[in-house]
């Protein structure tokens, strides 16, 4: 999943769905789109059990 940064690609903030033949790496390297960060689950480590 990608998000538009540059208005040259569409509305900034909208999701970007690449068309066939588009070089995604070049868009990412150029800062024209970004990858949506995957949120980590908020797992809390349980304390080790006392033996």
């Amino acid at each position: 999943m990608y998000t538009i940064i540059s208005p040259r690609l569409g509305t900034p903030g909208d999701p970007y769905i690449p068309a066939e033949g588009v070089n995604i790496d070049a868009l990412l390297n150029g800062g024209l789109i970004s990858t949506d960060s995957v949120k980590k689950s908020s797992k809390v480590k349980s304390e080790p059990k006392e033996q």
Partner: protein, 137 residues
Amino acid sequence: MAISSTYLSNPTISINAVDLTDQCTSAVINYVAEQLENTTFSNTSRSFTSGLFSNTVTVTLYQSYAAAETEASIYSLVGTTTTLVLKPASGATSATNPEYTLTGAYLSAHTPIAASLGELSTIDLEFSGGVLAKAVE
């Protein structure tokens, strides 16, 4: 006899889906089918048939190092293939305003700095190969 000519005032171009119309000053699509000779002893004139298509698009862009401008859009394309879309005018695609898409075009070279004192910097790019399609609707 009527003569129909085209005056390009507001053509559009996108390179790798990035709209660079407002940085572009020149664009040329060369739609080429290589000619292979198939002349034989039975012919009195040379004869040819179609070989591979060898398309190119050459463009001239103003250089800009600002965020999301020319350099950011082009630099990472060198050595890769991409898609270009060009139209004679910005209106809806139609028979009189066809849209040309070159898919799988290879960019072999780029000149990140090509500047002369006192002049706006421009870059010339040639995208080679790929499949050219023409849409009229």
